[in-house]
């Protein structure tokens, strides 16, 4: 052996629990896939078995390995070019026929493989029994029954992989179907399907029991029917926002209290050091205050929203939303799957943009990417909540106030969805045209999510990742904000100069220069928009925290805000440019400056137009 470790590739269809197998093997934290494209980039990990290291690469879940979508290209190329010592092909024991079609394609590229029959418990509950030894003889590779969620069969799997890697077990060349000799891909797949069906007839016995299918059928009747489908969907999202809004409130307050106490210690420390005033200002009032603000405003809602969203994701409900909404999206020339990327965008637009990989057609993907920031993300929720609380509720933390905020949020999101549809229609009719879009979406069986594991995983994985990204950009932004408020060229602070410059434009769209300046300064992280506004209004030199929504209301009204201003603020919060992280992600995903610019300008111009309209109409009616 020349290398000190073995190279393992993990391949399989989507929805077969491939990522669960990966997590179980490596013990590394990575999110389980429920639809195509969750494993967005190649995830890596390793494990030790009998003093040997096994390096695993988790390939994206695909239906085929001939390049049709980007993921398939990645998976196919990897299997073709990287001579793995062993490929673990994860199959769904419950849908063996299709899994085998994929397995045979993979085998034609690399015959050193192990078939992992995952979801065996689900299959058995569904009355499916597989003779794995017979199947192993037919395929010429070891076949291991597995239930990754319950950690069953993992040791057997590792042993089989070790046998194949060390050469103790030699897999014969798989020659049932010669891959490249077939005239067309469909022809090739048809041939493989016939072989797969024959294998299944030989190895699978079915009893009449089909509990999993029945349960899914029953739930689908409820969740996709005319009468109950949409109300349940709205209810699920209302509940999600409600829990996020109410639940995040207290931890946010505790965190900001904790941070402000520590700020005293920090500035005391600088005093002891006799540090120059400007340095202390930049580091404590600039970087530290901004950072702590972003963390205390952003962390609690994210720590609640992301795990809850992951639970919904893992249950298998999201593809049903795409199924329910596809008709509306089809009318706008896109696919129901776009609704999934929009739902992800509510969590974080950067995540939503990455999620657009699930869309197969380029025109659909571009439309979805460009319109993703029409969905207000978690970073913009605090602004929406604060403005709503200050202007449209009694400004108190009470049950009716929370109801109103949830209702306003739902209205805003519904409007954002309608707007996304309208803009998508325009884009697919005039800009991104490439024929009639198709749609083929797998609806996986409903699965009971693993509550604790999912929460832990999404906390460490998504929440901390997004927070980390926000913190990285918030720190330098804090320094810039402090400088704009504390540099006084010509006796007036830079911030005042900027707001004055922007005042005419702000006034034209029913707002003012301060709001525009705050939105521009909030480019790295939208969470700091309100504190910057308050700082500018109060001519302060540090970010200001207000004691409550009542005080915020007073400050804003004293600056001439009316209900119409507040409505314009809500509109411009939803519709301005995406944050810097999202812009970067869009550029990375599309590789096109043009698309990135479109994604930047489209929501901004829509927002400016709408705000100008609203403020002028309000003006006519004498508001």
């Amino acid at each position: 052996m020349t290398e000190s470790y073995y190279k393992i590739a993990l391949a399989g269809n989507p929805n077969v629990g491939k990522s669960t197998v990966f997590n179980i093997l490596t013990g590394m934290n990575q999110h389980t896939g429920n639809w195509t494209g969750k494993t967005v980039s190649l995830a890596g990990g390793s494990y030790l078995y009998q003093n040997k290291t096994y390096e695993i690469t988790d390939l994206p879940g695909t239906y085929s390995i001939r390049s049709y979508s980007r993921e398939e290209e990645v998976a196919g190329d990897y299997l073709r070019q990287n001579h793995s010592d062993c490929v673990i092909i994860v199959a769904n024991a419950n849908a063996l026929e299709r899994s085998l079609v994929f397995a045979m394609q993979a085998l034609s590229l690399n015959c050193r493989a192990v078939l992992c029959l995952n979801l065996c418990d689900e299959a058995e509950r569904n009355g499916v029994f597989i003779d794995e030894q017979k199947l192993s003889r037919l395929l010429g590779i070891p076949v291991v029954k597995c239930c990754a969620i319950k950690k069953q069969g993992v040791d057997k799997l590792k042993r089989a992989v070790a046998d194949v890697c060390s050469g103790k077990l030699i897999c014969p060349e798989f020659s049932a179907v010669v891959p490249e000799s077939k005239p067309s891909h469909t022809e090739y797949i048809r041939e493989l399907s016939a072989v797969s069906a024959a294998f299944c007839r030989a190895c699978v016995t079915k009893s009449g029991n089909d509990r999993v299918t029945r349960r899914t059928r029953k739930l689908d009747k409820l969740l996709t029917s005319k009468l109950t489908g949409i109300p349940i969907m709205l209810l699920v999202f209302a509940l999600l926002f409600w829990i996020t809004v109410v639940g995040a409130n207290y931890p946010s307050q505790w965190l900001s209290m904790l941070f402000s106490q520590f700020k005293g210690v920090l500035s005391g420390f600088f005093d002891v050091l006799n540090a120059p005033v400007w340095l202390k200002g930049i580091l404590t009032d600039g970087v530290y205050t901004t950072l702590s603000w972003v963390v205390s405003v952003m962390l609690p809602p994210m720590a609640i929203f992301f795990p809850l969203f992951s639970l919904i994701e893992d249950s298998g409900y999201l593809p049903r939303i795409a199924f329910n909404l596809d008709r509306s999206f089809a009318k706008c020339g896109t696919s129901g799957k776009q609704s999934l990327t929009m739902a992800m965008g509510i969590g974080c637009n950067a995540c939503g943009v990455t999620g657009c990989r699930i869309l197969e057609r380029k025109s659909e993907r571009q439309t979805a990417i460009v319109t993703n920031s029409f969905m207000p993300c978690n970073g913009r929720f605090p602004i929406l909540i604060a403005i709503t609380m200050a202007f449209f509720t009694a400004q108190t933390d009470s049950l009716p106030a929370y109801f109103k905020v949830t209702a306003v949020l739902l209205i805003i999101i519904s409007a954002a969805v309608l707007l996304t549809l309208a803009v998508s229609k325009l884009l697919t009719s005039f800009v991104y045209k490439d024929g009639e879009p198709g749609f083929a979406l797998e609806l996986p069986p409903y699965r009971k999510p693993q509550v604790i594991k999912t929460i832990a995983r999404s906390l460490t994985d998504r929440t901390l990742k997004v927070l980390g990204r926000a913190a990285i950009v918030a720190a330098p932004a804090g320094a810039v904000i402090w400088l704009t408020a504390n540099l006084h060229p010509g006796g007036v602070s830079l911030l005042d100069h900027i707001t004055e410059l922007l005042e005419p434009f702000g006034a034209f769209i029913g707002l003012d220069g301060v709001v525009i300046a705050a939105l521009l300064l909030g480019f790295p992280a939208n969470e700091i928009v309100i504190p910057v506004m308050v700082m500018a209004y109060m001519s302060g030199t540090t970010l200001q925290e207000v004691a409550g929504y009542g005080q915020l209301h007073q400050i804003l009204v004293s600056q001439g805000w009316t209900a119409a201003t507040a409505v314009c603020m809500l509109v411009i919060t939803v519709l301005h440019f995406p944050c810097s992280t999202t812009c970067l992600t869009i550029y990375k995903e599309t590789g096109s400056i043009k698309t990135t610019a479109a994604a930047f300008l489209l929501p901004a111009s829509t927002g400016v137009l709408l705000c100008a309209l609203i403020s002028h109409i309000a003006c006519w009616f004498g508001f």
Binding site: S64, Y68, A95, R327, F439, L441
Partner: protein, 88 residues
């Protein structure tokens, strides 16, 4: 062949709860390759599960997986209905 043709119907005309054998699909179907990868190939058995709230798309069971397909694509998939029900 003529006999088979007589008995084929487009997939979208398959009644709920009925099974059918796929007889062939028009190559102009959007994403015919993708459909093939998901099991929609000649000779496979497909059953109609239910429609979405607007009637389009609809969910079909094939190889024990549930697949949502649009009406426009289903029109171009020819099937031969089987007489027995797929579930009671």
């Amino acid at each position: 062949m003529g006999d088979v043709m007589k008995h084929t119907i487009p997939l979208c005309d398959l009644t709920m709860g009925k099974r059918a054998v796929i007889a062939g699909l028009d190559d102009t179907v959007c994403m015919s390759r993708r459909l093939a990868d998901m099991g929609v190939v000649k000779g496979n058995v497909i059953s109609m599960e239910y429609k979405s709230m607007g009637g389009d798309p609809a969910a079909y069971r094939i190889n024990n997986t549930l697949l949502a397909l649009r009406l426009a694509d289903c029109k171009k998939i020819a099937v031969i209905p089987l007489t027995e029900d797929c579930y009671d």
